[in-house]
Each structure stands twice: as structure tokens, then as C-alpha cells.
Symmetry: C2
Subunit: 455 residues, 2 copies
Amino acid sequence: MAQKPTIPKGTRDFSPFEMIRRNYIFDSIKNVFIKYGYQPIETPAMENLSTLTGKYGEEGDRLLFKILNSGDFLKNIDRSDFEDSNLNKIAAQMCEKGLRYDLTVPFARYVVQNRNDITFPFKRYQIQPVWRADRPQKGRYREFYQCDVDVIGSNSLLNEVELILIIDEVFYELGINSAIKINNRKILAGIAEYIGQSDKIIDITVAIDKLEKIGLEKVNEELVQKGLSKESISKLQPVLKLEGSFKEKFAKLREILNDSETGLKGLDELKLIFNQLDKLELKNNLALDLTLARGLNYYTGAIIEVSAQDSKIGSICGGGRYDDLTGIFGLPEVSGVGISFGADRIYDVMNDLDLFKEESVSTSQLMLVNFGEEEGKFCLGLLQELRKAGIRAELYPDTAKMKKQMRYADLKGINSVLMVGEEEINEGLFTLKNMKTGDQEKVDLNQLIGLFKSE
Amino acid sequence: MAQKPTIPKGTRDFSPFEMIRRNYIFDSIKNVFIKYGYQPIETPAMENLSTLTGKYGEEGDRLLFKILNSGDFLKNIDRSDFEDSNLNKIAAQMCEKGLRYDLTVPFARYVVQNRNDITFPFKRYQIQPVWRADRPQKGRYREFYQCDVDVIGSNSLLNEVELILIIDEVFYELGINSAIKINNRKILAGIAEYIGQSDKIIDITVAIDKLEKIGLEKVNEELVQKGLSKESISKLQPVLKLEGSFKEKFAKLREILNDSETGLKGLDELKLIFNQLDKLELKNNLALDLTLARGLNYYTGAIIEVSAQDSKIGSICGGGRYDDLTGIFGLPEVSGVGISFGADRIYDVMNDLDLFKEESVSTSQLMLVNFGEEEGKFCLGLLQELRKAGIRAELYPDTAKMKKQMRYADLKGINSVLMVGEEEINEGLFTLKNMKTGDQEKVDLNQLIGLFKSE
């Protein structure tokens, strides 16, 4: 026997069992998107590398999967570059295309390319796989799905409110008790301004981000290392120690940011969002979290991140407002806000917490036992009647031993089997067996349809 | 303004309008698959090139998209190979992975890799994109979807019968009047045997395949060129001139193939399939077509192809029986039979023939006009009530001019808008406007829910 074939590391096959669970997640998310007025688009798996490169930082560029040009891919390669192993230059000359790395950059490209055909504000959702040449590890894959929902061309904060409602509804539907954290880039900028270190906003946020993990003392040490003055660090302490309800935090920040126009604007934005949501009674917990700084390089307003309360798997959803995403493709000043659900991590969380319900659409409702050629032929007609009534039904295709056929139904999770032997055919009465209880009853076609149609 | 970004040639973006139509096709196909007891799987976009190479002929190998290895992709490349432009060798050393070319080979790989966890007969469907570095032209794309449905591990001809029922139901559902053609590899082998040219079966079939296009005379010329003896060509004439109903063709072939065991077996298989289907009253036309020879290199029994009656777009579905597909991966003697629906071509056919119905799930049922900050806030609460009732509704996010908001609803195909101004809020009665007729009426929340829930 030859060696078993394999798949590339970091990729996965999905069995029917897994597919049904995954589709349950995708459908739940999609249905909420649609209910909120978002419409689907899809973009190609391959984008020009000129579209992708430089959008995800140096690390991101390294993680792009590049596709070898068809035909003579060596034709532009200099011998000297080959001898010097000039990898970046050679790769750029041999590969024009790459696999998409996320759905945000392709979306920005789509909007710019199709801007004359789009009605703004454009509310779109997109559910497709993305690829990253990351080192595979538990919960990190080289091919995984993102479920993105964005509005582009509207400055209204009602969009942020609605996106949080979407998050709340999706995780409520899925049964995941989740913690929704929100922050605002303008508040972070205001804090940096307040301590007189506007240029160090990223260092400050990175340090704050580690607070929970390494503690206040070590964060302060790191800030010293990053070159913050003693005075700045001292001024930062009340921010680092910020505690309490949203109202308490808000009041304290209002004092601190009193002289920062940007900071106050961020606070106003946040307040509006909180006030709105307060009235709408979220089912999941929402809290201000100043340590939240994801994607700081392009978010300009709200920053959102969600994790499951009872799981150690990290972020399962995140996003924010970006005031100039399409600028990179030549269409400036179009504001967007969006979030992305990580379907693969949501799957892992639901698996870990045993949140999947037994799904009924997973398999046929009924299997007809195959008693022989003549009976099999009769069954085909019967099946068509059942299917016409919308019932999912199948005939075991071969005339195998009863035990084998029963085992098939059992393994496939089919709850009912129907015996259609010669006698049954003559009588027009078939024996229906419940696979769970073992109960049997005699039914005719109409009764059969009645029984399963109501399921 | 920078140059507009583009996408790789042969690939496409799908707008919301196109997505809704595409999803209608996918859902129709999927629902039939499920009703017939097939279950979904998915495989990764990337496969090891060792899995893909050599499975699609030389031409196919050339059309595989190869993915550049991460890291130092030059490390195994010999300088002499570089200087000789030894493209195949270098590509094989620089690229371990490629994009899948179809769904059949990944399925075979899946079955062998997971054979211990699979319940046979394994009835699976798979709907995913495939990639081919073909020269793009009308109706031919570099990224397109296949919708495959296969049974593996069953020799029963009932599977062929059911697959044709699936074809019949899918195209009936989609409203495509289609021509289903069927042939059998064993009959073709029998004919080659009968004329004493078993070794020339492929040349014979290729020539027969051109009959409609170039006529009998030219086909005979081609057969001479291919080295068939005068006697063989003469014996082939009755086959080439075969006409009439299935029964007539069948009777004639029975005479001709009387001494070919293989040929007779093929005829028996065909007869069983036809007889079964005859009783089940297909809605589309089914005919024996001896010129049908697609994928002859791996089909061993039935060969099936479908085209739309009223369209010049070619094959929209095809497949057949392959007795040893998994043999290439070390699991011999597992028979399979399957068909593949070409969703992109089906889309083109339906577009050309104007077969798409106006879809109601395409967009929000209702848009709330945004009259200002306070009214907007009120609307959020209203929206939650509507959505709780399962109604797709949205609020225009910005307080733009009425005309702009109306234009948005119109372009997005939203049929109803709701005016929620200060007065309306105080009264608890909102003005509902039908965008098509211009009619207006006053409704309260309960009436509103009643109106749209029943849609």
C-alpha cells in the first residue's frame, strides 16, 4: 500500500459532521447580517500582489502566499539576483499574484474599483477564507474563514451602535456568553497628549496592553525603557489604575483629558455609543477597556474586541472605525467602520464549551432498506414521493446484509429506517423502525409523509 | 488620483446583485443534494503538488497554480538548472503546494486519507471554487465554482439513476430546460472491439465526437488518417448512422455488439438505467448519445453530460462512473460515480435566458428614514422590535436630505420606507410609504410587524 496522502500543514479537511456545525455558525452570522440590512459580496481568492503588499506591515508581507507566474517565470530574473539570493526582488518578479490575507484590503480595493456602481453608505458583508503563511499551532491555521461586516461612506456613530447590536445578537444566538470590549483611538491619542508624549502613542498602548499579564510595576519599567520621562509615567498612573463602572471611568477620563480636544471627542463618541446601547439592553457584557489597541495603525475611532467569557481562546471578533481605508487605493476621505467574526475560533469555543445543539438537518430523515433488485426499483418511486413532499430520504444503494445497512443508518445518524420487502409492497404498508427506541409500526405512504413532513 | 486598482485577469468580483443570484443557484443545488441523502465536506484550497500533479494530463499540470514556498525558496535550486531555464524542475523545487484544479482528486485524496472514519457507501457533496491557469475568455474563468456530488463504495446502478434524478430536479427547480445525454464507456469499448480496433478506442471516440460538427464524410477521412483499416471503418458505419428512439438504438446496438462481452454489459447497464427512469417520468429530456466521451481516461461505466436546450453555452453538468479513482492514492477497487454542476455556466445560462426570479431576500424589507439625532435614537429601539420579529430592516445612518435617503432605498431595492419624525414618535403612529406605488398609510408598531412578518 502506498503512503497515505496528506494535506499541507496548517490546512484542514472538514468532515460532514464538522461541516454541519460550521454551516450552523456561518448561517447564524449571515442571518443576523441580513436582518441588519447588510448585503453580500465576494472577491477573488487571488489578488494582485501590488494590492496586498505593504498593507499589513513587514510581518504581513512575509506571510503572504505568493503564486508563481504561469509560463516562463524566470524570464525577468537577473543572474546576479539569483546568485545573491535576492529573495524579495526575485519573488516580486516571479509572482504577480497572491492569496488574500484578510477581507478588509480586498473590500477597500473593491469599493475603489467599483465606486461608480456602489450606493453609499455601502453596507456589505463578506464570508470567505483567507490565507496566511503563519507557523501553524493550536487555534492558528493557514487557511481560515473571516466573516466581515462593514459600512463605508457614513460617519454616523449609529453604525458603531448597530455593529455592537450585531455582535450581541450573533453570540446570543450561538449561545456564547461573551465580553465585548470597546475603546477609542482618539482617547488613546488624548492620553498620549496629556502626558506630553504624543509621538509615543504606540509604545504606550503596547505597554498598557500588557497590564493584565505582567502587572503595573513591569509596565512602568517598560515605559522607562521606551524612553518616557519620569513625569509622563507619573501622569499616566491614574489612567493605568482606572477602575469601576463605565460612568466612573468616564468621569475620571473627562478630568484627565480636559485639555485634549481629540481626547474629549473620543470620550463623546464613546458616551453616545454607551448611552444608546444602555437603552437597548444588551444580552452580553459591554465594557470600556483602555488596554484595547488592536490594529492601531489604521483604526481612527472606535476599537472593538470580543472574547468568550468562559474560554481561554482569545479574540473571536474584532474591528473598529477607519477614517481613510480606501485612501491607499486613491479614494481618500471615505470613512468606514466594521467588524470581523473569526468563524474557526468560534467553532473551537463552541466545541470546547459543548454549545452545539443536535442538528436535525444533518442527515436523511429516513433510510429505505434495500431488499433486492425488484424492491429497490419500487423504492425509487417511493423516494420520489417522499422527496416531492420535501422529506430527506435515501435508499441503501446495494442489496447488502440487513446488519450492514442498519449499521450505515446508525453511523450516519439516520433516526428512522423503512422496510420495503415484497410483502410490504403488495400490502402497501411498510414497516417503519425507530433506530433509537427500536419501536416498529406499519404505515402507508400518506402516513409516512405526514409523519416526516411535520418534523 | 492614483490609478484604479484591478484584479487578476480571469477572476471576478461579485456584487450584492450577483451574489444573491449565485446563492440562489448554490442553495437550489445544495437543497436537492441534501434531500437525496448527500452530506457536505470541504477540503483546503491548497493541496500538496504531489497530490495534484499527473492527475489531469500534461495540459492539466501546466494549468495548475503553484504557490511559492515560504522562506528561502531558492535554497534547493541548482545554478545549472537556473542557467538552463529548467522550468519544471525549478518550479517543483520552489513550490510544494498548488491550488486545487477540481474537486474530484481532492475528494479521492480525502477518502483515502480518512478511510477509517468514513461510512461507506459515502455520499458526499462539495461546493467550492477551483483554479485553473487557463487563457481567460467568455465563459471561461481562472476561478470558478464546482458543485460535486459523488457516491463512493457502491457498485449499484441505482446510484446512476439517482444522480440523473438529481440533475432532473436541479434544472427543473432552476427553470432550465435541459438535455441530459448518457453514454457508457463499455459500449464504446465494445464498438472498438467489434471493428477490431480495441487499441484505437480514443481515436474512434474523438472522431465520433465530431460527427455533428464536421459530418460523416470528414469523420471517415479522419479515421483513415488515424490508421483505421478500410474494413474497420466500413463496420463502423452503422454505428455512426445510428438513429431513432432509445429502444431502436438499443436493438441495433444489441445486434452489433453481440460478440462483445464488455459491450453487452454496457448495454445492460444502460438499459437498467433507462428503464428505471422511464417509470419515474423525468421533466427534462434524456437520450443515449454515443458521441459523448468526456473524461474517457478515467470513466469506466456511465458517462453523463447536460446542456441547456435553449442556450449555446456548452456543458453545464457532467460526470460518470469511475471504478478506481482512489487507486492513485493507494486504495484500489473502490468504485465511485458522481456528477459536477458548473455553477458559473449555469449562472450565465440563466442570465442569458432571463430565468432569474425577483428575489425577496435580497435586501431589507423596510428602511427607516433618519430625521435627526433624537429620531435616529428612537429608531434604534423600533428596529430591534422589528428584527426580533425576524423582519429585515435598517435605518439610514446619517441625517441626510430626504431625497438622498429615498434614492438610497430605491437603488438598494428596498420597497418600503417608514417616516419616524417627532410627530410620529409622539403619536406612536408612523407613515409607511410604498416605494413602488407611492401609497402612504399610518401604522403603529404592531401593524407594522403584522404587515412585514407575513411577507
